[in-house]
C-alpha cells in the first residue's frame, strides 16, 4: 500500500484514515501534482474540511462553487477559477489534498 509521509493512501491517492491528515501531507500531495499551494488553495481546502466537519460529506462541485462564491466573492464562485487552482477538479483533487473521501457522486 502506498503512503504519503507515512500516511496510508488508496489507489487514487486519497487518505485511508482521514484522521492522518495534516498540512504537510497536503503540501506533499500537491507537490507530486506539480502544485505549490497558495493562500487561495488553502481557502478552498479549509472550506472543504469545515464543510465535511459540519455535514459529514464532501460537497458536490456545484455546491462548492456556490458556497465559495458566497464566502470569498462572486469572482471566485465559478468553476473556471476553481479549476485554475485544482486542474484535476476542485472536488476530486481539492478533497484529496484536504484529506477527505471522494465527493459523493464523483466518478
Amino acid at each position: 500500500m502506498a503512503d504519503i509521509l507515512g500516511a496510508e493512501v488508496d489507489e487514487e491517492g486519497f487518505l485511508v484514515n482521514l484522521g492522518d491528515w495534516n498540512k504537510e501531507i497536503a503540501v506533499e500531495m500537491a507537490k507530486s501534482d506539480d502544485i505549490d499551494l497558495s493562500e487561495e488553495h488553502w481557502d478552498v481546502i479549509n472550506f472543504l474540511r469545515n464543510y465535511f466537519e459540519e455535514y459529514q460529506i464532501a460537497p458536490a462541485v456545484r455546491v462548492l462553487t456556490k458556497a465559495i462564491g458566497k464566502q470569498f466573492g462572486k469572482e471566485k464562485g465559478n468553476s473556471k477559477y476553481l479549476y485554475s487552482l485544482f486542474p484535476y477538479g476542485p472536488g476530486k483533487q481539492g478533497c484529496r489534498f484536504a484529506g477527505l473521501p471522494k465527493p459523493t457522486g464523483c466518478i
Partner: protein, 134 residues
C-alpha cells in the same frame, strides 16, 4: 431533458439497516440532475430526522448531520407524516430544524420540513412521476 417529479419515501429507522443512508446518498447523487426532488418520512422513517442523534453506543457513523446539507443541493421539500409522528409520541419540536436558503428571497433561511397528513401525502405521491421507496 424534461424535469420530472421524484419523491423518495423513507420508511425505516436510520440505523439497523442501510436503507436510510443509501436513500440519502442516492438523493445527493441524483440532485446533480436538477430534477424536482422531494422526500417523505413515513413510519419509522421519521426517526431519520429526529434531532440529537447519538450513535456512540452502536459504532455506526452518525449521518444525521448530512440532512442539513440537503438545502445546499436545492432539496427543500421534506414531508413528514403527522400520523407517523403521533404514533411514536413525537412532535415537530423533536425534529432537526432543517432549512434552505431561498435564492429568490435574498438568501433568507426557510424551513424545509413540512408536516402533512397521510391523506395529503397520498395526494403528493399521486402527483409524482417517480416514487422511490427505501
Amino acid at each position: 431533458m424534461a424535469t420530472k417529479k421524484f419523491m423518495y419515501l423513507n420508511r425505516k429507522a436510520p440505523y439497523g439497516t442501510v436503507y436510510a443512508l443509501e436513500s440519502l446518498e442516492v438523493v445527493l447523487i441524483a440532485a446533480a440532475f436538477e430534477q424536482d426532488v422531494s422526500l417523505a418520512f413515513i413510519d419509522d422513517g421519521v426517526y431519520q430526522i429526529v434531532k440529537d442523534q447519538n450513535t456512540d453506543g452502536i459504532g455506526m457513523k452518525n449521518f444525521s448531520k448530512t440532512y442539513h446539507a440537503l438545502g445546499d443541493y436545492d432539496i427543500n421539500q421534506l414531508f413528514v407524516s403527522a400520523e407517523s409522528l403521533k404514533e411514536r409520541g413525537l412532535s415537530a419540536d423533536d425534529l432537526m430544524p432543517l432549512v434552505y436558503e431561498d435564492e429568490d428571497d435574498d438568501w433568507a433561511e426557510k424551513p424545509s420540513v413540512k408536516i402533512v397528513s397521510n391523506a395529503e401525502l397520498k395526494e403528493l405521491m399521486s402527483e409524482q412521476d417517480v416514487c422511490l421507496s427505501f
